[in-house]
């Protein structure tokens, strides 16, 4: 079997427990069939802080992620507990370079509420990583409601999606 053409790096940005990324990687591996690398240490998200908004700039966060270029065939996705924004938007769950190499996913607004199973955070995080990863592969939002590339405007909508791409989206991401 030949080597997979793509590799995924899951990077901790800010104080994300390492276990969250390990478990997320376990959920993604069987689906992506890409090697997933979890670099040691964490990236400091502080330079992306906007003091006036008390939020973190998603665009700046991507700059931080690619400050050290990921290298050929690598897609780098940051996972952060920090609240992301863009100047025109109140908040974002994730942000990606369309057809690029980097993306970032925030767990700040997708944390389960009281009474919801704690494992839900891992499920939501993994689905958001799939979603942003799809954008780095050039995919736009998908109309299939169960596809990971379907847009989610609130956390419960993430729960409605499967941990999978629909066949056309999968052919772009996994078909390589």
């Amino acid at each position: 079997m030949g080597q997979a053409p793509w590799r995924l790096e899951l990077v901790r940005v800010g104080a994300v427990p390492p276990a969250v990324l390990r478990e997320t990687a376990k959920l993604l591996e069987p689906l992506l069939r890409w090697p997933i690398h979890l670099p040691a240490g964490e990236l400091d998200g502080a330079p992306a802080l906007d003091a006036a908004r008390r939020q973190y700039s998603a665009a700046r966060m991507l700059d931080l992620l690619v400050a050290a270029p990921p290298g050929e065939g690598v897609k780098r996705v940051g996972v952060t507990p920090l609240d992301l924004f863009l100047p025109v938007f109140t908040h974002l769950y994730g942000y990606a370079q369309m057809g690029g190499q980097a993306a970032v996913v925030s767990t700040f607004r997708i944390r389960p509420e009281n009474g919801q199973p704690p494992g839900l955070l891992l499920q939501r995080t993994a689905k958001e990583v799939l979603h942003e990863l799809g954008h780095t592969m050039g995919l736009v939002h998908c109309t299939a409601p169960w596809c990971a590339m379907h847009p989610s405007r609130w956390p419960e909508e993430i729960d409605l999606k499967d941990m999978a791409y629909c066949p056309p989206c999968a052919s772009v991401v996994v078909g390589h």
């Binding site: 100047p87 025109v88 938007f89 974002l92 369309m98 736009v140 939002h141």
Partner: protein, 455 residues
């Protein structure tokens, strides 16, 4: 063809680069086709090049602000939904914009969900409005046989319509005024693969040369006195649909040259402009003129004649298919009775006889007018002879067609027009209405028959 199969098109107008970039990215991810420009001037240029479903514009911009831009957009792309971006401080301005017809406004920074919802709803409304227009057009054209008739002559016409509708072939429709040439054109459009595209009709005989040129090809701002803004021509508006050029025989040699070029190259240049705009439409022309004679006389270009005379449908006048008169009259009777709230049951035998014997120089249009006016005076029961305006309209002796059997038809028409004009003190509008023809046709006939006002 540019019918609504492609992704909705958005135009983002904001002087701040990060806003343009963020919004473009957001909506591209949502599957929209997005263009972004920094100011109103470039926005108007973009709107001149193509149509957009939704324009998202900032209110506060240097130069022309969002409100002024909104007014200008209404001129060049009236169907586009406009969503305004505002800061909290200018909400009152945004409210004013809503009163002026903007679709909605959003305040910075946006909740991504709210913004997507607003734009999706605006696109949905655009789609529904477009669909509504197309369906109305299709509905209007869905029962043409009732209006055009079921005689063998018209069955033959319908056969030709069916044969040519599914193709993209240029069609020339010939027939006297009032025979239903536009109706047949609409029928071809409604049964063609362009049926969900626009149907754009231009009466070439109704406009002077300069106006017709601007009407067909559009104009750029300042290209002539009164050209206050950019104006899209009918050829551009027909993109993706059908262009109906009525009275094609009336256009001037200069416009003939430009039209021929546009039909051959499928590109137009607006009056006063330099940029070529690609256009994609099917052409259907109509005339009641002897085009062959016009070509021989040198008033109609031979190359344009061959370009439009590919497939000809000739609609016979109503007098040549008398069996169609009563069914068509009955159709109009039902339609007008319903709209006017009359309890009219039908035509009395003597009224039917009168309808059958009248020569109907204004064809179906004249018949429709006669029935409508009959229903104004007849409130219930049957329509009788005295309800019909035919005898009074012909000045007491209906066009002399009973006694003047040796006269050529044209002479009868000339005399009848003269009588009506005399009776109406040469008031063109009133006379045209009575004759059941439009004013331009009446002017043409006055010119053709050399009719002069009697002292």
């Amino acid at each position: 063809m540019s019918t609504r199969i492609s992704a909705p098109r958005l135009l983002i107008v904001d002087d701040e680069l990060h806003v343009r970039e963020s919004l473009s990215r957001w909506f591209i991810e949502d599957g929209y086709e997005v263009d972004a420009v920094p100011d109103a001037k470039e926005a108007l240029a973009a709107l001149g090049r193509r149509n957009y479903d939704v324009v998202i514009t900032d209110i506060k911009m240097p130069g022309m602000d969002g409100l002024e831009l909104q007014r200008r957009i209404r001129e060049v792309n009236p169907k586009a939904a406009i969503v305004l971006i505002t800061a909290y401080a200018s909400v009152s301005t945004a409210v004013q914009a809503l009163k002026d017809g903007a679709y909605d406004y959003v305040t910075k920074p946006f909740d991504p969900e709210a913004l997507s919802r607003v734009v999706a709803k605006a696109c949905e409304r655009m789609r529904l409005e477009e669909e509504n227009t197309r369906l109305k057009e299709r509905l209007e054209a869905s029962t043409p046989e009732l209006v055009v008739g079921k005689s063998p002559a018209m069955q033959k016409v319908m056969g030709l319509v069916e044969a040519v509708a599914g193709t993209d072939t240029t069609v020339l429709i010939r027939g006297e005024s009032g025979t239903g040439k536009e109706l047949v054109t609409r029928l071809i459009h409604s049964r063609s693969k362009r049926c969900f595209g626009p149907f754009v009709a231009v009466n070439c005989g109704a406009l002077p040369e300069g106006v017709l040129e601007s009407e067909l090809f559009g104009h750029e701002k300042g290209s002539f006195t009164g050209a206050a803004g950019r104006h899209k021509g009918k050829l551009e508006l027909a993109d993706g649909g059908t262009l109906f050029l009525d009275e094609i025989g009336e256009i001037s040699p200069k416009v003939q040259v430009e039209l021929l070029r546009a039909l051959e190259d499928r590109k137009i240049t607006r009056v006063g402009g330099t940029q070529e705009v690609p256009v994609d439409f099917r052409v259907i022309c109509a005339t009641n003129k002897d085009l062959e004679e016009a070509v021989r006389a040198g008033t109609f270009r031979e190359d344009l004649y061959y370009r439009i005379n590919i497939f000809t449908i000739t609609i016979p006048p109503l007098r040549d298919r008398p069996e169609d008169i009563l069914p068509i009259a009955q159709h109009f009777l039902q339609r007008f009775a319903q709209s006017m709230g009359r309890k009219v049951t039908g035509f009395a035998p003597e009224a039917q006889e009168l309808l059958r014997r009248h020569p109907w120089p204004g064809n179906i249009r004249e018949l429709a007018n006669a029935v409508e006016r009959a229903l104004v005076v007849c409130r219930e029961g049957e329509v009788h002879r005295e309800h019909l305006p035919i005898s009074s309209l012909s000045g007491g002796g209906p066009v002399e067609h009973e006694s003047a059997t040796s006269l050529p038809l044209e002479e009868i028409e000339r005399r009848h027009i003269l009588r009506v004009l005399d009776a109406q003190g040469f008031n063109i509008s009133r006379s045209a209405r009575i004759l059941g023809i439009d004013r331009v046709t009446l002017y043409n006939k006055i010119k053709r028959y050399n009719i002069e006002r009697r002292a």
